[in-house]
């Protein structure tokens, strides 16, 4: 597969399958690992990074999950392509030294020489931590039998940042919580969640704003707790948030049903008719429609389309699809055209 083919293939984690898919978009586990005998990427020389990259790529491709995949270096990508892979959740920084290996369907990927020598991640749609868990550790096994990890018995897997040391494991889910936002119960909930050792961020990870009522919830603690416990505790926390969101939606419909319905159908109308849509507007309107699907107002065949649109209306995706760089106004026009076209066929 070639880099340029990415835009034409949909990541499998975008499909609407998986549990609680009306609230959970996707589940992810990532592991941070480093090689013994090499400085961490921030302090390593270029030659050393090249050796690491060759070793890791060699080991990664031994896993069947990476068969028929794709491999690219951020150094060789244009500014637009960097944004494009960030929107696709394959990359979280703008660093230019990173090698990325992606498995078919973008279920698994490996970043080499980002903050750590190795970051492997596995994604699935919906609440699906249980499905992701064995996959990521199967890959880890293959890597650890082909490479020598930096590891100490007392501190576990050694990482560049002390917030990852130990298991190097981060479990996260992308949640859509419009009910809790509308009723303003979200802040208290987030405080509670954080006080229990979890962190919450926006749609595109580190430093991103909370947009369209999307929240990324993940474990914060990686040391003094084993991998299974991290997965179980995070899933429990997420299930708790899902229950609260469902309760709040029911309460909202009981107490302000007409108002909510009106907001949902108006948003739907704008998406189907607008001639210009900014990304922010699209994300917010589609959040209302997504809520409409969640409470059974709008047919749930729309869920897959919304997931698809969420990714493909992002600025870099839009420009890659059209095959040209566009200014903000042109993007807004093309975005509106594209949304109308996709929603028409239902």
């Amino acid at each position: 597969m070639q880099f340029e083919d990415l835009i034409d293939t949909q990541p499998l984690w975008l499909n609407e399958e998986g549990l609680s898919n009306e609230i959970v978009l996707s589940s992810r586990i990532r592991l941070a690992r480093n090689l013994k005998g090499y400085l961490f990427p921030t302090r390593a020389r270029e030659k050393e990074l090249e050796d690491v990259s060759e070793l890791v790529k060699d080991a990664v491709t031994k896993s069947p999950y990476f068969a028929n995949g794709l491999s690219f270096k951020t150094k060789h990508l244009s500014q637009l392509d960097i944004e494009f892979v960030r929107e696709r959740h394959l990359l979280s920084t703008k660093k230019r030294t990173v090698d990325c290996v992606v498995g078919k369907g973008e279920i698994v990927s490996a970043l080499i020489n980002e903050e750590d020598h190795i970051r492997i991640q596995c994604l699935a749609s919906g609440l699906n931590i249980k499905a992701v868990y064995p996959v990521i550790f199967e890959i880890d096994e293959i890597l650890s039998s082909n490479l020598t990890y930096a590891f100490r018995n007392d501190f576990g897997y050694l990482t560049s940042c002390p917030t990852n040391v130990g298991t190097g494991m981060r479990v996260s889910c992308l949640l859509h919580l419009p009910g809790l936002v509308l009723t303003k119960e979200i802040n208290k909930l987030l405080d509670d969640v954080m006080s229990r050792g979890f962190s919450v961020r926006g749609l595109y990870g580190e430093g991103s704003e909370i947009e369209g009522n999307f929240f990324q919830l993940s474990n914060q603690i990686t040391l003094g707790i084993d991998e299974e416990e991290i997965a179980t505790k995070t899933e429990k926390e997420i299930r708790n948030v899902i229950d609260l969101e469902r309760e709040t939606r029911n309460k909202l419909m009981r107490e302000a049903g007409e108002r909510v319905e009106d907001k949902i159908w108006r948003s739907y109308g704008i998406l189907k008719n607008a001639r210009m849509l900014s990304q922010e507007e699209f994300v917010n309107l589609s959040s209302a429609v997504r809520l409409g699907i969640g409470i059974g107002l709008i047919d749930n065949t729309y869920l897959k389309l919304l997931n698809y649109l969420l990714l493909y209306t992002a600025p870099a995706h839009l420009q890659k699809m059209k095959g040209k760089i566009m200014d903000a106004d042109t993007r807004d026009i093309e975005r509106a055209n594209y949304v109308r076209e996709v929603l028409k066929c239902t």
């Binding site: 020598t148 007392d154 576990g156 940042c161 040391v165 981060r170 990870g205 707790i225």
Partner: protein, 154 residues
């Protein structure tokens, strides 16, 4: 909840330290905040606070990172840093993570030999390319034999 510093007074302020892709929260009483000169909602003073008992003069002999630099960036330079800063890092990790000891999967006996062999393979592959470019086919064939042997062993 009691103050994370004095463990005596009731904590009324909380501070979040954001680092890398995660953050940690500390609960502190007003007096301790004043004593430590902490600014509200600011991350940096806390990281200093967490490390304030550490020996700032330590230097990692592998990557050259000083403890001072670590206190500023909160990023290690290599796995050797964990050896050099170990003692001071332990209490820091306990504050940051709630525990200083790994409980997860343990790595099977590190296979250094494999790594050495793989390094050698990469070097030989490079030499092979060079030899072919120079049309030194006899050398190239020798390298190929050596490579085949190593690759079978790995």
């Amino acid at each position: 909840m009691l103050c994370d510093i004095c463990h005596i007074k009731e904590a009324t302020l909380h501070y979040t330290v954001v680092m890398g892709d995660t953050s940690t929260t500390m609960y502190i009483c007003e007096d301790c905040a004043k004593n430590k000169g902490l600014l509200p909602a600011s991350g940096l003073p806390i990281s200093r606070l967490l490390l304030n008992d550490a020996n700032m003069d330590l230097v990692c002999n592998r990557c050259g990172l000083t403890f001072k630099e670590f206190a500023k960036t909160l990023k290690f330079g290599c796995s050797g840093c964990y050896d050099v800063f170990g003692k001071d890092i332990k209490s820091f990790l306990e504050k940051l993570q709630g525990s200083p000891v790994h409980k997860g999967k343990s790595l099977e006996k590190a296979n250094i030999e494999t790594l050495e062999k793989r390094k050698k393979i990469i070097e030989l592959k490079k030499a092979l390319k060079k030899a072919i470019a120079k049309e030194a086919y006899e050398t190239a064939s020798k390298i190929r034999d050596e490579l085949a042997k190593l690759e079978n062993a790995v």
